[in-house]
């Protein structure tokens, strides 16, 4: 099991499924340490623009860690150290000259547990545009809120109670509110960390439908524990194991004919 990923295999895998769309996020030899723990080892991956890329792998494999590197959310963890190169549109996001707060406005994030602010639905969506000064007037802000809620297919459900607390919504609605909040600042990339793990199947299906719509405008990266979900929503899939990116490839390849034995063992439920 301590087999290093064969670079030849990885290259051939990528060669087999060439990305037709340009690369949005490129990572090269990314290493992440939590104190003495080496959480992510030499991860290199290209993530194509305007598509959904799924990260799968067992718990603690480093997929969330890697996701959080992309919007530098790991900066908030004191013991965390990131090495290597992560580029968005060819620009290094760990460049000291780049402000992580501005980066996070370009790279939105949706979390595992729906976490709306305990404020009104309107304020939840309007918060991002407000602090980034994206609206010049109240009318404009109203428009941003409405269009964000529409894009998150929540508008019809909440348009009559925009002043109600966001925490009063159902779990699935809350998560869509969080997505609306994220797209209100018009990010280029949306990171989703197990967005459906706390939701029932119907709410999950709504979010998946939403992702399908959003991928035409945003580059999306989703971490999920549900292989079926990864298979349903993503165009590309990356499998992480023990901090190593074992395999990436088109989702159809990964789920029918994975190259690496570890990937196969994981997705068929054989991990031992």
């Amino acid at each position: 099991m301590d087999m290093r990923p064969d670079p030849l295999i990885m290259m051939t895998t990528q060669a087999q499924a060439p990305t037709t769309t340009p690369t949005k996020v490129a990572a090269k030899n990314v290493n992440v340490y939590y104190g003495a723990k080496h959480a992510l080892k030499d991860v290199s991956v290209d993530i194509p623009e305007k598509s959904v890329t799924a990260f799968i792998g067992p718990s603690g494999c480093g997929k969330s860690t890697f996701l959080r590197c992309i919007n530098r959310m790991n900066d908030t963890v004191a013991s965390c150290r990131v090495e290597g190169l992560i580029q968005i549109d060819g620009k290094d996001i760990y460049d000291p000259a780049l402000d992580p707060v501005q980066l996070r406005a370009r790279v939105g994030m949706v979390f595992q547990k729906p976490n709306p602010f305990p404020k009104s639905i309107y304020d939840n969506v309007a918060y991002g545009p407000r602090i980034h000064g994206l609206s010049k007037s109240k009318v404009e802000l109203d428009q941003i809120v409405e269009s964000s809620l529409r894009k998150a297919s929540l508008w019809e459900e909440v348009k009559d109670r925009l002043n109600d607390s966001g925490t009063g919504l159902s779990g699935g609605q809350q998560q869509r509110l969080c997505i609306a909040r994220t797209i209100a600042i018009n990010p280029e990339i949306i990171l989703m960390d197990e967005p459906c793990s706390a939701l029932d199947p119907i709410a999950t299906a709504r979010i998946e439908e939403l992702m399908e719509e959003l991928r035409h405008n945003f580059t999306m990266i989703i971490v999920t524990h549900s292989m079926q979900q990864a298979a349903r929503v993503s165009q590309r899939t990356a499998f992480f194991h023990l901090g190593i990116l074992v395999e990436t490839g088109s989702t159809s390849d990964i789920f029918t004919n994975p190259t690496d034995k570890r990937t196969q063992d994981y997705i068929t439920g054989r991990f031992g």
Binding site: N257, I267, G269, R270
Partner: protein, 238 residues
């Protein structure tokens, strides 16, 4: 291959393979029996052979149900998915093989009263042997997950086609020599065609085995030796 974490899943997958080998064994037997009943002019044996096809059909239905249930319950992925789908396909092929063998046995009943020239049966015997071996080989390849062996079967079907061609020509010759032979020979022609079809089904199984083990179908065209579709003989041979 390490085992599944869910043991019953593992057992169910193994159960599918068991059923396939059972079906394969039956189909093999059926092919042999059918020809034997033809060669030995034994209508009773032929009837028994026809009847035993029902067992294959039953197994086929059971397998289909099991596969559908497994897809619903386990949502197999990767090699498991390929195995489950392959089982479905192989079972279908074997069921067809069983049907063809049954058809041979029926024809054996129909022509049991006729005396046929000895030379005619040697070609058919040869075909039966070839088809049975192909079937056995491809089932072994399936059980052993051996794509090389399966590919061997795939390529060897050409031999069966070649024998079929010669049997075809031979039967045509008989029919042209003496129109009274036409009835018998037509039956024998269908028997030969059935045996040739069984060979084709083994190649399909071989392709499925390749897909199941490698995740991809064999590349290129399968070598084919069946030229009968383009053969025409006009007038008696002088």
């Amino acid at each position: 291959m390490s085992e599944h974490i869910v043991k019953s899943y593992e057992q169910e997958l193994a159960g599918l393979d068991d059923k396939i080998s059972q079906m394969g064994g039956l189909a093999e037997q059926l092919v042999g029996e059918a020809f034997d009943s033809l060669a030995s002019h034994n209508p009773a044996r032929a009837r028994a052979t026809v009847a035993s096809d029902a067992t294959i059909d039953l197994l086929h239905r059971e397998l289909e149900e099991q596969v559908i249930l497994m897809i619903a319950r386990r949502q197999p992925l990767a090699n498991d998915l390929r195995q489950v789908i392959s089982v479905l396909k192989v079972a279908g092929e074997l069921e067809r093989v069983g049907d063809l063998a049954k058809n041979v046995a029926k024809r054996a009943q129909a022509i049991s009263g006729e005396t046929h020239p000895k030379g005619l049966l040697t070609g058919l015997q040869h075909m039966t042997d070839l088809a049975s071996r192909q079937l056995k080989d491809v089932l072994d390849a399936y059980a052993a997950r051996n794509p090389e062996r399966a590919m061997q079967v795939w390529r060897q079907d050409e031999n069966l086609d070649a024998v079929y061609n010669s049997v075809f020509r031979e039967l045509l010759t008989y029919m042209m020599e003496d129109p009274r032979n036409i009835g018998l020979c037509t039956h024998l022609l269908f028997v030969a065609k059935n045996l040739e079809r069984i060979g084709d089904h083994t190649t399909n199984i071989a392709e499925t085995v390749t897909y199941m083990t490698r995740g991809s179908l064999p590349e290129g065209e399968r070598p084919k030796g069946d030229l009968t579709s383009s053969t025409l003989m006009s007038g008696p041979i002088r």
